[in-house]
Symmetry: C2
Subunit: 177 residues, 2 copies
């Protein structure tokens, strides 16, 4: 199983659209972001609950409301999103096997469990490097790179698509009244 | 779930005992290594099948046989063991969500999937850093650090314990004949 979940992938893709939406001061609903990317709407809604709880996004109330980034895209790292969605998963869970040597009998000597296990130390170092990379990239830096490959009119098209959904949401709300 | 499995942890602990056993030219059985550490023998046996298949250990046949490192401990990295046991697990599995934008209709334009997705690129970088750390540590370097904390007589005790198992294995084999 991959360590970084599909939820993180969906969340990051949605948040990249919010980077652009933020410039327009226009929030987007989880449902619209899901439909824009043809991904399951219920799953995306759950991701936004997590992102909101972690302070990555804020919900704007009302018919024309939706989610917006809680702070500038330059201040939201990939690590923030990974932890918001997946929690803080350890790369490795040390079981302190070094304490179980048959020679110790029923009593593990202090030196055997002193400090971090040498194997665990390697995994901690590896995990730290991973986290450093994830913390070095922000939504802004990724959005910037993604924008370099897309034609200008695509971003305009996405903006129009999302904006066009707002009256539709308004109509849906009226119909259900 | 942790990305590096408990199997890797057990395997590394077993292999560290083999580093020492190698100096004596004395192989150890998977069963003895499991009992030495009070871990499930069947699970350890399966790990050694994987380690042998990956060329990390070799099996020495015969009553006094067992497993030995296939090459010097300075040439077996933590990454070798992780890949032998867990296979080459990706940190992240890109689903190419960028190709699914509703604006594309049924036809994804080439630019949308050109090169690596910007999100995937971050994960590839993170994974590379993890692998670099795992490849930088060897069984020899870990054994060296572990030996610094253990009293000298402990290593002697382990050697004696493992050596004492060989005639016992011999007896078991005779009994079952």
């Amino acid at each position: 199983m991959a360590h970084v979940s599909a939820g993180v992938e969906y969340a990051l893709h949605c948040l990249l659209f919010l980077v652009d939406a933020q410039e327009l001061g226009q929030p987007a609903s989880a449902r619209d972001l899901a439909e824009l990317q043809k991904v399951p709407a219920e799953f995306v809604a759950k991701l936004f609950t997590k992102l909101q709880k972690a302070g990555v996004v804020v919900a704007r109330e009302g018919i024309g409301g939706g989610f917006a980034l809680a702070r500038p895209a330059t201040d939201i790292t990939v690590l923030d999103v990974v932890e918001a969605v997946d929690g803080r998963k350890a790369l490795f869970e040390c079981k302190e096997i070094r304490a179980q040597c048959a020679l110790f009998g029923d009593r593990t000597p202090g030196w055997a469990v002193d400090g971090v296990c040498s194997i665990h130390a390697v995994m901690i170092e590896a995990e730290k490097r991973t986290r450093d990379v994830l913390a070095a990239h922000t939504l802004a830096s990724i959005a910037g790179r993604a924008a370099m490959t897309a034609p200008r009119d695509h971003a305009d098209g996405v903006r129009e698509w999302l904006t066009a959904r707002t009256p539709r949401r308004h109509r849906r709300a009226q119909t259900s009244q």
